[in-house]
Symmetry: C4
């Protein structure tokens, strides 16, 4: 992976890494719906009327809400990943491990999403919300680490990117961490607030991502 690649055009060095990452993001974001595919079953010997089925589906709204927030968040993370990799030219085992650690966390997102969808209105909501926010705390750390391995540890970025732009991205990445820690802290007091902060952070990331 060292001098043999010199002949390959430099913009190609992360091609397969991006393809693999895209695959993991795409599968993880599509698996979110598997939690929603709980087609309600009528009890033995009964049949649902249309109103029954509509009412049952309506009561599943916490699952739909957490699905929406998780989908939107993974989408933003992918866009951030995509935008970051447009600046990366070279590759590196440490960078690949940092990326792999991020992908591990992305594949985990469906699990606390399903948990929160089931328990948001139950007494156990604080535990579910804490697990949900806790995962995003770790994801925000993983993004900081990934960006550090790309931009600060060894020069993997392509030349000619203005230092001000690099600092701007560093700052945007650092902001996620304290907000998710706040969301985690709120989980024990108000799980709904945790969900609200995660949704609000999505709006913030959307705007940030649009500006970069």
């Amino acid at each position: 992976m060292t001098e043999e690649n010199r002949a390959v055009p430099p913009q190609k060095e992360t091609g397969r890494l991006e393809a693999f990452s895209d695959g993991v993001f795409a599968v993880a974001i599509t698996l979110l719906v598997l939690d929603l595919i709980k087609v309600p079953q009528a009890p033995e010997g009964q049949t649902f009327s249309a109103a029954d089925l509509a009412a049952i589906l309506g009561r599943q709204w916490p699952a739909y809400a957490t699905f929406l927030i998780s989908f939107a968040t993974i989408l933003i993370l992918w866009m951030n990943h995509h935008s970051m990799f447009q600046w990366v030219q070279k590759n590196d085992p440490v960078f690949m491990f940092a990326n792999g650690f991020l992908l591990l966390l992305i594949t985990l997102v469906p699990f606390p999403t399903a948990l929160l969808g089931d328990y948001l209105l139950e007494p156990a909501a604080p535990a579910a919300a804490a697990m949900y926010a806790g995962l995003f705390v770790v994801i925000s750390i993983a993004f900081i680490v990934l960006w550090w391995t790309a931009a600060y540890r060894r020069p993997l970025l392509r030349p000619g990117i203005a230092p001000a732009l690099i600092r701007q991205r560093t700052f945007a990445n650092l902001l996620g961490f304290p907000v998710y820690v706040l969301a985690l802290a709120c989980a024990f007091w108000s799980p709904a607030l945790t969900v609200g902060i995660c949704a609000a952070l999505w709006v913030f990331w959307a705007i940030t991502s649009a500006r970069l």
Copy 2:
């Protein structure tokens, strides 16, 4: 994502966006079958004869029918997406969000498909058919929005496409919406008609897509 990309050949700007979209379409279209993988289990202490098993599988025909319509519709949507992206040269955060909104809806398709497959012959069919048609109403809106962000909001298309062709595609995209609204309205009166309209629209889209 702004001036740094100027050096990259313009036709490459949506490469990873297309790869990610392809991944989501491919996973969503393949997950449809998971609803079909309900291998019938004989009751405790009994065994099925071949005729029993064949009869049970035959009675699952609504699940097969909705699978076929959903698969064909996602395939057409992908072909439409593919054909639209052949005209798109540049990228844009708003375009990426519009695309992400479409992908969200695509990943949802397996859910109402499973619901309709289970309830098509039950009294609750109107609720299931309304949810099915309702999702495609929103999908047709998402396609109109995506095309608007690509062709009308800011010039993301590559130069040299005849305005008549652009208008033709705009018209084709607009047609889906009223037909799916009609299918939704029929759901409360005749769920079978809803399914029939969705299937017929697929034929129409197939012909439209072949002409573009």
Copy 3:
């Protein structure tokens, strides 16, 4: 999709079609294992010894055998698809629909595989084996149709391929159909023979594919 593409290098015209197909093949071949993930659960109040667990896993061998045959067959089908597309230069809506029809059938493979894995040693085996072989009958037809749309209907192949090689591939594609029909006919008499013919055909396809 008509004259606008003339400027694009011709070998690129099927790029996204191949990527989407690869995605569907990859997801379908990986979903086969979901049928195997039936971790045995000890009855309430009991625990398995290591010998119990090993014995239970050993009794699942029909599921392992059908998994192996289905995986190997999808792999061969992908290799055949890959090898066919190396000759295809242009694209065409009819070709895309023929490819979509093949993909539909590929995503279905996990369903009769799971069915056969559960019922191979049961009285219902003929129905399961007939469904399994029947799907591959339709897949062999879909491959003949796909090749016809690529090589005979309109000239989508790149120039310079020797007619003898085209005829050789046509012949190889035609051979699958009668053998799978034979496997289907055997299902009602000996399901094990059906499975044996499907496994034997895999060996034949492997050799054919290696020669092309």
Copy 4:
């Protein structure tokens, strides 16, 4: 697949093989989490407190631990695969079959992972640990075979790679086999040691992969 490809630039010959492999790796690594998505359900008529839910989730730690080891191992295997394919220029049916055999084993990883996650603390742990280590024994053989078809059977590597580097990779690939055999042998005596050896080997592979 023979003389027709001579005109294609040589570095492109394995493009679709890599894309398909990436898809299978990405789906398999993401499916690992499906085993974790067992949202605990409170018994009929009871509700969980947050402490109950946290305690139940905490008791699932063997599933989390095996998930982590399996994810990290598939990631390393992908990195090894990626790094190996950077040296491969040509393609070959035998090489494609060797790659397909490796992919088959990769898709199997979620199954013994789920098994080990459920039985690590049970009397049946030796059988589960033996199946887990046994799969990795076969995977290490598949990697040796794949490398042999690429580097020794016929010259598929691109020219100019130093023989010392080729020998170094051969040696690294050979090392996995005896260690996994050791892990397999330990399963019958101490399943925890089996898991420990698999985790330790991951660290070793990480370092080896970083050096290559």
